[in-house]
Amino acid sequence: MIRLQGVGKTYHVGSREIAALREVNLEIARGEVFGIIGHSGAGKSTLIRLLNRLEKATTGRIELDGEDLTAMDDTQLRSLRLRVGMIFQHFNLLGSRTVAQNVAIPLRVAGVRDAAAITRRVAELLDLVGLADQGDKYPSQLSGGQKQRVGIARALANDPKVLLCDEATSALDPQTTRSVLDLLLRINEQLGLTIVLITHEMDVVRAICDHVAVLDDGVIVEQGPVSQVFLHPAHPTTRHFVQEAEDLDEGEEREDFARVDGCVVRLSYLGEHVYAPMLAEVARDQGVDFCILSGRVERIKRTPCGQLTLALSGSDASIRGALAQLSGGGVHVDVLRAAPGTQGVN
């Protein structure tokens, strides 16, 4: 649905050049929730603004449904923007207009003249975002979460195919964030809407994204299915985001390792495996003992997943057997520290 090939963006500030994005390649499928995560200044906003041409790429090609965005004239651009909705960190609502008037603006932009039709559509949209009776209020009378819901209603007014979210929950408290994310997930599923969201919080990615790309200093350093990136982060930046989300600390981890004997492994598993009594089975079958150093069982979008760090003790053969049985059972095994005398098995 959306494809970026070799996209670069350079800003010129005076005589200085700022390469905000370099060689970005992305593929976003219809109907998915695609997350882009990165630290402040990584180029996230620049990237998402390329997708509705609020910003023009310096190099490369951007396609939406096969159409090349980089070659569009003003008329094509306006029709593109009717098909791509956008919401913002600071909502960007018109303070001088009521909620209903704010939501009506894209309809008027699209050329809807029939006042009754506008009223009907606005009511429908406000109902969708759970603000059915708030149409006559002004934005200043709403909470942050409600304002973002108005933003979502406005973005959906013309039935877009794509919704762009620029740090849509970064100004909200955790509970409100959750409810706005739930709303986004619901419209993603109900309307089959493709959602591209950028964030600096791994929790947001974990809650609703199918795929994620990690942006670091204008470059995509890692991308893939969320569970993959989340359980097996390869790039240091990704690892940093995961650790931040998990409250992990490498120093503490090393301390733990120093106090146990044997082989230290990290097990990662997804879906049905979460519900299988695998550890006990393996311990029994292979005659190993284990001690859990740290662990988490949680959900990535709707899929349960688990990750445990264990110290295994037993004979070399039994440890090898245990690791083989775990791998065979669909558990991903990373050996963090091989027991003396054993070779790491992966």
């Binding site: 306006r78 207009r97 008027r108």
Partner: protein, 224 residues
Amino acid sequence: MDVLLQVLQAVDWPEIGLATLDTLLMLGASLFFTALAGLPLGVLLFLTGPRQLLGQPAVYGAVSFAVNVLRSLPFIILLILMIPVTVKLTGTSLGVAGAIPPLVVATTPFFARLVETALREVDRGIIEAMLATGATTRQVVFWALLPEALPGIIAGLTVTAITLVAYTAMSGVIGGGGLGDLAVRFGYQRFRTDVMVITVVLLLVLVQLLQMAGDRLVHRFSRK
């Protein structure tokens, strides 16, 4: 008490009434034309400005320079320089009609700058959100920028109106009519301190009323 009454009885009230009316006429007409010309000029300045919607540095530079020239000209010089133009426009350089063109020319650039500033106060994110819906520049201006900047524009118009009151008084010097004219002819040239005081009080009341009305309107249109 009696002294005060005597003083008040000695004043030519119909004359003062007429002068007040003249001042109000000058003020009303000048303010009207200033708003009419200054609002589009302010929007033009804003839109062509650096990193704005139209971003036309050459146009912005030229308009900005013209505005600065008019603003740096002392009003009294402008009054005199404008006389040929004024005569052409209104047939006279005297009285209420003769005062209006120079007043408008003096305050339009001033008001345009205030409009530009008020528009710049509007959050960029709002323009962005409008553009993201597919809005044209015209729609962004009329549906978002002007409504959002309305309180600021009204505040600017209030300041402009008060500046105009001071200018109408000054245009009295070259026979513009109104309260300023009265103050100069009677109060200054004929040593009628009573007339002088009364005109000053009336001008003060006028300024006060304008400020109050402006503040009230600003409040009425603010939704923050």
